[in-house]
């Protein structure tokens, strides 16, 4: 699966360009990260039981998405810095 996805991603890159991909699909990731952080804080505010169950679930989902967030930011920065 991970070997198939880069082919689909490179097709999308060649079709749309890096800026367009990170400004559309990338924005979905950024919104997800922001939304999940918000949800985590709401869960924390509701009480210890919700904090344990929901916040920990969100933590699991957040960890790989934060990795994606870092990759998107790095891509954008390198695209600006590199000729």
């Amino acid at each position: 699966m991970t070997t198939v996805a880069p082919a689909a991603a490179s097709d999308l890159l060649s079709l749309m360009g890096l800026d367009a991909v990170t400004s559309t699909a990338g924005v979905v990731v950024l919104l997800l990260v922001a939304g999940l952080l918000l949800a985590r804080e709401i869960a924390r505010a509701r009480g210890p039981r919700e904090l344990v169950r929901v916040a920990r679930t969100i933590d699991i989902i957040m960890a790989p998405l934060l990795g994606a967030f870092l990759i998107i930011v790095t891509s954008r920065l390198l695209n600006l810095v590199l000729p």
């Binding site: 996805a5 991603a9 559309t24 999940l36 790989p64 990795g67």
Partner: protein
């Protein structure tokens, strides 16, 4: 050897922790699907997103997978049953894998780096999910078992790789140089083969069993998602090869209880598929 009171206490604690009122009976795949409508609905949405990816609507696929993640979090907040939560987290890993692979492109580092970054993110997710869900390494299929059987299963990757290279030409290319080759081999074994097997034939059966299902149900569900994830190749001969391969991998996982043999086979297969076309051409 005499067991001390502390040893007995620890053993009792472990047994109580593993005690599952549903362990005495296991639901059939149909019963389990009927008892877990959330899994079926969100699983169907993920399969739909794979079709969108296959037909070139990558951004739409990312959006659908994003909505699935939001839905899974809402459902996780509503679900009281901890084991059901585990099956939702397994589905989330599939959605996240597709989101990262499409939405986080790297315009440098060749074609192997995106495989490594996507795989590393998912490994991190599984590493965080396993202790949260109380899944041991054995439950995830990370056990050596019989080394001879493991090696024999791994060797099956050679004919599979040759067939794959023959049927599916356009595969990620390896950069020239010995270091790049070693890096590619490590990437394919660790971040492609191991991640695939750990998620689809490790995490899925483990969480389904925890949620009262049969191990068969989990392996079948994981293998179905694994095959669906190959749809974006749009290569009918390659998918036709991978369907029986996936079923065989599922049978091996069921028989040996380990994902290491199939990881070895998938890794060998991928390395051959990546290197053989370049070797023949050049």
């Amino acid at each position: 050897m005499t067991a001390t009171g502390a040893d007995l206490g620890r053993r009792l604690g472990r047994e109580l922790r593993d005690l599952d009122p549903r362990a005495a009976w296991r639901m059939s795949p149909r019963q389990w699907a009927a008892a877990n409508p959330g899994f079926v609905v969100f699983g169907g949405a993920i399969l739909g997103a794979e079709l969108l990816t296959a037909f070139g609507f990558g951004v739409a696929a990312v959006a659908v997978n994003g909505l699935v993640l939001v839905g899974l979090v809402v459902l996780a907040a509503l679900v009281e049953d901890e084991p059901i939560l585990g099956s939702l987290i397994a589905l989330a890993m599939v959605a996240i894998e597709r989101i990262i692979s499409i939405a986080a492109p790297l315009p440098f580092g060749g074609e192997m780096l995106p495989i490594a970054t996507t795989g590393a993110c998912i490994l991190l997710g599984v590493a965080m999910a396993a202790p949260r869900l109380g899944l041991s390494r054995q439950a995830l299929g990370l056990r050596a078992g019989n080394p001879r059987a493991l090696l024999l299963v791994g060797l099956a990757g050679i004919p599979l790789g040759l067939l794959g290279a023959l049927l599916f030409g356009s595969f990620p290319a390896v950069e020239p140089g010995a270091l790049a080759f070693v890096g590619s081999v490590v990437t394919l074994f660790l971040f492609a083969a191991l991640v695939e097997e750990l998620v689809f034939r490790g995490l899925f059966p483990a969480v389904v069993v925890r949620a009262g299902g049969d191990e068969r149900t989990g392996i079948l569900a994981g293998t179905a998602f694994w095959i669906a994830a190959l749809l974006p190749t749009l290569s009918a001969p390659y998918i036709a090869l991978m369907i029986p391969t996936g079923i065989w991998f599922a049978a091996v996982r069921l028989k040996t209880g380990s994902v290491l043999g199939t990881t070895l086979a998938r890794g060998v297969m991928l390395v051959i598929m990546v290197t053989l076309p370049a070797a023949v051409a050049g």
